[in-house]
């Protein structure tokens, strides 16, 4: 099945012929990759000018929100480095790892 034009899926829909729209996927639940993919689809659809102008504005707004979402995911780059220790009783704990030790 070819991908639906984004301005149709923007609000989400159960199937191609379904007029009953469901709310778009909330951003918080969107993985970075999905957000990026959606953003790129929006860009492509906007560039090909498939969508009507009003829809394009809506898509643009969604795209901007997706961009912010992606950026926030990218900012979240604090690394925690830990190592696993297995206790006598088989339980598992973590402790900080200093790889230079």
């Amino acid at each position: 099945m070819p991908p639906r034009p984004l301005w149709l899926t923007l609000r989400g829909s159960k199937n191609r012929n379904d007029d009953e729209y469901m709310p778009a996927q909330p951003l918080e639940k969107l993985s970075f990759e999905d957000a990026l993919t959606e953003l790129e689809t929006i860009v492509r659809d906007l560039e090909t000018g498939k969508a009507p102008l009003e829809k394009s504005i809506e898509m643009y707004e969604r795209g901007t929100a997706l961009k912010k979402h992606c950026e926030s995911k990218l900012r979240d780059a604090q690394a925690k480095i830990e190592k696993i220790t297995v206790q006598q009783d088989g339980s598992v704990k973590t402790e900080p790892l200093d790889p230079e030790e």
């Binding site: 990026l36 901007t64 950026e71």
Partner: protein
Amino acid sequence: MAESKTAQSNVPEFSVSDLAFSLKKTLEETFGHVRIRGELGRVTIPRSGHLYTNLKDEDASIDAVCWKGVLSKLSIKPEEGLEVIVTGRVSSYPASSKYQIIIESMELAGEGALLKMLEERRKKLAAEGLFAPERKQKLPFLPRTIGVVTSPTGAVIRDILHRLADRFPRDVLLWPVMVQGDGAAEQIAAAINGFQTLGDHGLPRPDVLIVGRGGGSLEDLMPFNEEIVVRAVADSTIPVISAVGHETDTTLIDYVADLRAPTPTGAAEMAVPRRGDLIAQIAESEGRMVGAVNRMLSDGHNKLEARSGRLGDPAKLLEVHTQKLDHIGDKIGRIFDSYLGLKKHKLIEFSAKLRDPSNLLREAAQRLERWDDQLKALTPRIVGNFEKRLEHAEKMLEAYSFENVLQRGFAVVQKADGTLITGAEQTTLGQQVQLRFKENKSVDATIGAGANVEKPPSKPKKSKEKKTDQHSLF
């Protein structure tokens, strides 16, 4: 025979035990440290944990034993048919005086043999479908936590952490294991399995695993060829990247892993995208999006312009018409002015010609008076004239009047309707007529013989009524 008997007597007599232990001592002293190359025969490990087998070649066979303590330290797992080089000592078992090799170490007999063994193992596991492409799991685009199974010390974990820091710092959970030697394979397998259920311990379950070690000899890499490790990777529901040795080294874990990295650094590159690239990609997407929308807006604007251009600027349209109106208004004004001027001029001209009505009246009155005077002067002349003509006419009338004729004795014959009968042919027999005499006296008469035979059409009643009229004609 006799000689032998003599000799027999000279030879010291040993007990069985003496000889057996003496042989054992001799064997151990003579063959205290030997390296033997041979193929492993049937391998058995009873409950004691010791390993019993035999080493053989084409023509000979020697029993071999590997005590439990040594067995656990071997770098290879003894299997029947393996071509091995064994180091140990020859000894015998006095209870049966059977000699055997006590194995102190064992290695595969050359790379060829080892590779042959690995190839056979690979085929076996491949036949099970463990390496099938459809089993491969897709790596997450951006993992939150990365699990690493390797040695806590050494270059591998350092390389991975460095590259992650360069590309996209992520949480890393290291499961420290031995990566070579005795028990390494078991530890590695346990670590892979342990990561699967990390959530049960309230720890974040990694989104991707890296299992690796640095380069080494084929023997060093052997744990990553072990079936237990291969199966642990095959069972992992977390995608696994293998990173064992250098690019040229291939171990069985590489076949079963979802992705094979040439080096630990390469594994880190596969695990995470480059953050800078993503930032650039998103910026580019945004730029393209803004560009597209701007283009769309300016397109729309241009279209609007083009259409409204065709519509024409209402102000300008108005201007034109206003100007026209002004122009016409001006023209009308001027025409009107000049028309008015003309009319005014004519009015002046005409009013100059117009005379005072009172004068006219006065003049008319004078003229009337004059005419009146003239008329008065004329009256006697005109009237006198008429009186003379009237007198004359009266005389003429009298002269011609049939009354005078009647006076002279003539009569007039009239029909009943008063018409004159001027000839006999106008009469009919029995016709009633009137004879009129002087002084307007008349008598009725009837036409007798001699009259016209034909009876004229009678017009009875009307004639009498018209008689007076007829009379008045005279």
